[in-house]
Amino acid sequence: MHPDKLSSLLETELPGMAWSMQPSDLEKFGQDWTRFHDPQAAVVFFPNDIKEVQKIIQVANRHQQVVIPSGGRTGYSAGAVATAGEWVVSMVRFNQISDFNAIDQTVKVGAGVITEQLQHFAEEHGLFYPVDFASAGSSHMAGNIATNAGGIRVLRYGLTRDYVLGLTVVTGAGEILHLNKGLVKNASGLDFRHLFIGSEGILGFVIEAEIKLVSPPPNQAVMLLALSSLDAVMSVFALARGTLQLSSFEFFSDRALKHVMSHRGFDNPFEDLHPFYVLLEFDEDEDQAMHVFESGMESAWVNDGIIAQSIDQAQQLWQYREGISESIAHYTPYKNDISVKISQVPQFMQQLEDVLAAEYPDFETIWFGHIGDGNLHLNILKPESMDTAAFKTQCESVNQHVYGLIDSFAGSISAEHGVGLIKKPFLPYSKSAEEIRLMQQVKQVFDPNNVMNRGKVVD
């Protein structure tokens, strides 16, 4: 639709609605953190309330126009990217936290509440919102819900799904649903709440959520261990899990560390470089921490180790892990976010290493991830001289091998980033033809005209 025609249509059918067709807004809100598509949004809406979202959907249905929910735009799967003149609906104005209830330990968050905003709110009320990850300072709660975001404390606290007690949504047909209404127990038929969690915007808009908060854990200690080999990573995990009350067990490779050091100007935390590092967060217990370290040293799994002496130092150690994505962003990395059962991680990683050595001999590969959840982030860096499109094509051809291996381990091609556009061609490696067909049919139930985020996840 020509911009002039579109703007007159919007003036007539959506009077009083806030929207923008400024090229800078179209670019900003038409994409996430991926850089493989040129953002091509037609318009960006900034609705103020649920009624306005409903109106946008009704008008979109009338004109067979695709709408894309837009949150903090930190996605890694192009799940919120506009590529074909779609209408983008930004939820930035839904940024209120309300209805805190100390007895239920619940709180209502608008779609556009930033993760960190909720974490701070919980802390101010003596409680804790445990879902956390590197982009917590930007990501929106509705985006977390739409991708069932995980992050760094899944090992102990689970995923976003485990904290959603109620959802208010607008479906692709324009219906407003209040799902589960904040109840802990509710055995009254199908729970559509869980369909919307992880739906990546293909069923409708998440407008508001009731979120469960928990009691904060005791003081946390943070330890960074330098390991001798890949095998040692899982051995140390088994050891630490049996000894400490772990909240996080994260790993990264020496290459990941080098990128963080050069990007952030950090010193090497150790004198030497080591093949792999693991970062552990756990309930403070120096004797047990020392036991893990010493046993690890005796078994020659652990080369060296640091333990934070203040919260400030704990945050510094976390920077070595959380700074990785940012430090490699300018290489236009091709991100694989994969998972297998925890027990199969060592075998899987060994075989994956072989595949990588054979298929990506010239590309720099960066390993890191939430290994305590069986979740690995494998990033392939684009050589500077290579064209982005050619790089993506080559990565996708190698994916056949990588995802074939994941399939043989009954793993997932997307552990926490979602499918979006980027992983859609590879969905059959994780979901059967029957499951994919049923997904399409479920989408049709909530969104009969296929206006919600069309082309993402499934066709």
């Binding site: 020392m290 640091i306 333990i307 002496q309 203040s310 919260i311 510094q316």
Partner: protein
């Protein structure tokens, strides 16, 4: 030369401090405690001086309850050679702290005393100055750079309101550290093991300073700061000006 570093155990800088409901103090049960950040910088500086070969021993001292051993062990894991705990369960005010530290100085005879410019719990910023006065030695406060000149003198760059000021002091002297002096190192796990074998001497406050003056300041009550009222977003400059006019803040 021996360096004496005075440190204090405080509620960790990043903890959201809660006042006890009866206003008698700040809640510390189950709260993360750490070395006062300025004192951590003091330890780091002393260790760097020793590593440059300009000192041969770093002794760390604190005044506090027996839990303070934990912070002394941390200081020794960072690299301090030994530690002295002057044990007391009572709160110690700056002049008393300075008097106790003077006794330790008389015993240890250090060539240099380094300590944080203030403790982040009471923010007094008085102990180093009082200590230098009682000791009758020079003081270089708010140091952001420390350099040995070779003739038993120190050039110290100080962070002052107008910028940076460099002064020269003759040793022995008291240096108090500012935030930009250095970045303290991480503690290695093997060094925590080693620190367990380093000497930690505990003295009773009444034995160290039997003639200590009583507390000169009485704390009446503690109160949390009033919560700030929420800001409002305005759509335009005109709206902002109107609001300011309504509140009588602009003419």
């Amino acid at each position: 030369m021996k360096i004496l570093v005075a440190i204090k155990r405080v509620v960790d800088y990043n903890v959201r401090v809660q006042v006890k409901p009866d206003g008698s103090g700040v809640a510390t049960d189950g709260v993360k405690m750490s070395i006062n950040p300025f004192d951590e910088i003091a330890i780091e500086e002393a260790l760097r001086i020793k590593e440059q070969g300009k000192a041969d021993e770093v002794v760390v001292v604190t005044i506090g309850n027996s839990d303070s051993q934990q912070q002394l062990r941390t200081a020794m894991a960072m690299g301090a050679d030994r530690a002295v705990l002057v044990e007391t369960d009572s709160a110690v005010q700056p002049l008393q702290a300075a008097q106790v530290l003077l006794k330790i100085i008389e015993e240890e005879q250090p060539g240099l005393v380094i300590t944080g410019k203030q403790a982040i719990d009471d923010d007094n910023n008085q102990t180093p100055q009082m200590l230098a006065t009682l000791w009758n030695r020079p003081q270089a406060t708010f140091a952001s750079q420390v350099e040995f000149t070779g003739d038993n003198k120190l050039n110290v760059t100080r962070e002052v309101d107008a910028g940076l000021e460099t002064i020269q002091v003759e040793l022995p002297a008291v240096v108090s550290t500012d935030l930009r002096l250095n970045e303290p190192r991480f503690v290695k796990l093997p060094d925590i093991m080693k620190a367990k074998r380093k000497p930690l001497e505990t003295k009773v406050l009444a034995d160290v300073a039997p003639d200590l003056q009583g507390q000169m300041i009485e704390v009446l009550s503690h109160e949390a700061p009033q919560p700030r009222s929420k800001g409002v977003m305005v759509e335009s400059v005109d709206e902002l000006i109107n609001i300011l006019k309504d509140k009588g803040l602009v003419g």
